[in-house]
Symmetry: C2
Subunit: 353 residues, 2 copies
């Protein structure tokens, strides 16, 4: 029996609960045992909610219950989420999360703690929403040395850029539209200033290169400076403007990381990724370029990734990821002028990044 | 220590040997133990070959050696490859293959045999070449009910169709070009008549729907009838002609399968997949559409998938795939006239399939 506690009953947390009930038979057949939501932890009340009876307010209820084997952390941030994750791992419970901030901020410590306690800390949902990317990159491309990762990793900014291109909107109007549809938060800074893309890229880079990369090693640039004029100029030269995150291992072992607007030729696999979709191109030495594409955010896509990780927790534990923190000097930002640029701008062309 | 025997020293087999030597340190770090090629089995001689000393001619050498824990079958076909696979599984050895014909022909028996003997029969390389698709579909999308799979699954025909579209070549000229570059075999029927696409689609459908689908349940149509005129007509209406394999689970549980040329709108994720690249779109109930894209064939991409499966063999065995063969009546071909068609043709439009 797999008993799950969901911490945080917001958009993603409620999606996880919904999916665990909806596809319950599928989970039982995939794990060989019943899977049930035993607790939902939140400090808020949800009177009349279908699963109100599962709500608890005290983390001790979860931590002290020996029947709980998987804790889903969808609280977000690196405060209480960090404390609860640490304590759940110490209590010998697997933890599954969509929290990219916490994974990037405290990954090395939490992964080591999971290993010490013989459990997992899994975070497929932290990058690419409903697109399986961490598992296929680590296992499906396991025979490859990964040279490069380049992707559209943030749905909010991709929606804004798509609106600007297709409907000629200004950045401000497109942002307003994104907020209206719930794609952008009231304080949209983490998305539009590139920090969210940067954190996700750092998670992928840490996994691919085996060494921990903290987001503060990279200087992200966001999309506030992208104007309709720039988009038109790009279009005229056969390019589209996308917010790109890229990590490339150079021959000397240095990893060069870039987060910012870039010009993508219309025939490039990332060019036609529109709206809230994400795409991640991974280059392996044997297989070449592989693209993973799908919905990068949203309630049910993110719940899909969280719940797939819950199924993973039912398998025998066989390998622990550890991120080496001893060497922080292998990451650098590209030197100014290092790329090819879109004519008349300082926007780099994606293939030269 | 993982000792590998490679059966069949052709294009894929030699790629596997090359990659196992090239990325040897990576394999050791991923599996926690040394990985070595101990035997290469082939009836041919390779005088002067770098790995000539590993060549053996008698399968008994492989089967009787208790040190061999992984057998790579890259012989192809369902004759001797079938016999050797069966005997290797019975001898308690994991078998990894790129042989779609054998997987589709004898999958239920070989998977059951693997389970009885506590070993694996893995075939990531049988579909999509170097693109991880089976693992992410089964695990990364594990929380989803899969409704539909639609893809470009054959690199040879996609190369031919790309040449016809971009260079205005006739089918015959484009086929000749494909043969000249080694993308098409001297007898290209399995590719151009759709059987290869059909077998790969049947493998994905069997995995997604848990019931075995043999290729003879589907009536594939190939691309011999695609003319430059049809391509122009499609182009004028905003479509591209692609050889599409599609399996869709209808609400009544019936799976409708289609293999044939179809019209793909220019903005569709499969439209820009050119040359020998493949793309597979999988629709899950929670995550929506996810696309996996990359090199669908070739020596090193296919070796990448085989070698990733070798790494999988080093993990604790936790689940066995079994294909139910009791019910063969859940598959049907679409009734004539069931789709929307490209105006003035009998070519279905991909979204209606």
């Amino acid at each position: 029996m797999i008993n799950v506690a969901v911490l945080g009953y917001g958009t993603v947390g409620s999606g996880v609960v919904e999916l665990l009930f909806k596809n319950n038979r599928l989970f039982a057949s995939k794990t060989g045992q019943p899977v049930a939501v035993k607790y939902i932890l939140d400090i808020r009340s949800f009177p009349g909610d279908r699963y109100e009876s599962l709500l608890v307010r005290d983390i001790e209820t979860v931590l002290r219950d020996p029947e709980i084997n998987v804790v889903v952390e969808t609280i977000g941030g690196a405060g209480v989420a960090y404390e609860f994750t640490r304590r759940a791992l110490q209590a010998g419970k697997n933890v599954v999360t969509s929290n990219k901030e916490l994974v990037n901020e405290k990954g090395p410590e939490l992964l080591a703690l999971a290993r010490e306690n013989g459990v997992r800390y899994l975070f497929e949902a932290s990058v690419g929403g409903g697109i399986p990317v961490i598992l296929p990159m680590m296992s499906g491309l396991g025979a490859n040395e990964i040279h490069r990762i380049v992707g559209i990793l943030n749905g909010t900014t991709n929606y804004i850029l798509t609106k600007m291109k297709n409907d000629g909107m200004s950045f401000e109007d497109a942002l307003g539209r994104a907020q209206q549809f719930g794609y952008a938060e009231a304080n949209p800074s983490a998305d539009i200033d590139g920090l969210d893309t940067c954190r996700k890229l750092c998670i992928l880079a840490s996994l691919s290169f085996g060494k921990y990369v903290h987001a503060d090693r990279v200087r992200p640039e966001g999309i506030r400076g992208v104007t309709p004029e720039l988009m038109t100029l790009a279009e005229q030269q056969g390019y589209r403007i996308k917010l790109i995150g890229s990590a490339q291992r150079l021959p000397d072992g240095i990893v060069e990381m870039f987060v910012g607007p870039a010009a993508v030729p219309a025939s490039h696999p990332l060019a036609n990724i529109e709206d809230v979709f994400n795409g991640i191109l991974v280059s392996g030495d044997a297989t070449g370029d592989v693209l993973f594409y799908g919905k990068g955010a949203g309630k049910m896509p993110t719940a899909s990734a969280v719940c797939s990780d819950i199924i993973e927790c039912s398998k025998p534990l066989c390998e622990s990821i550890l991120w080496d923190v001893t060497d922080n000097d292998f990451v650098r930002s590209p030197a100014p002028g290092r790329f090819e640029y879109l004519e008349g701008t300082n926007i780099p062309i994606v293939m030269s990044i």
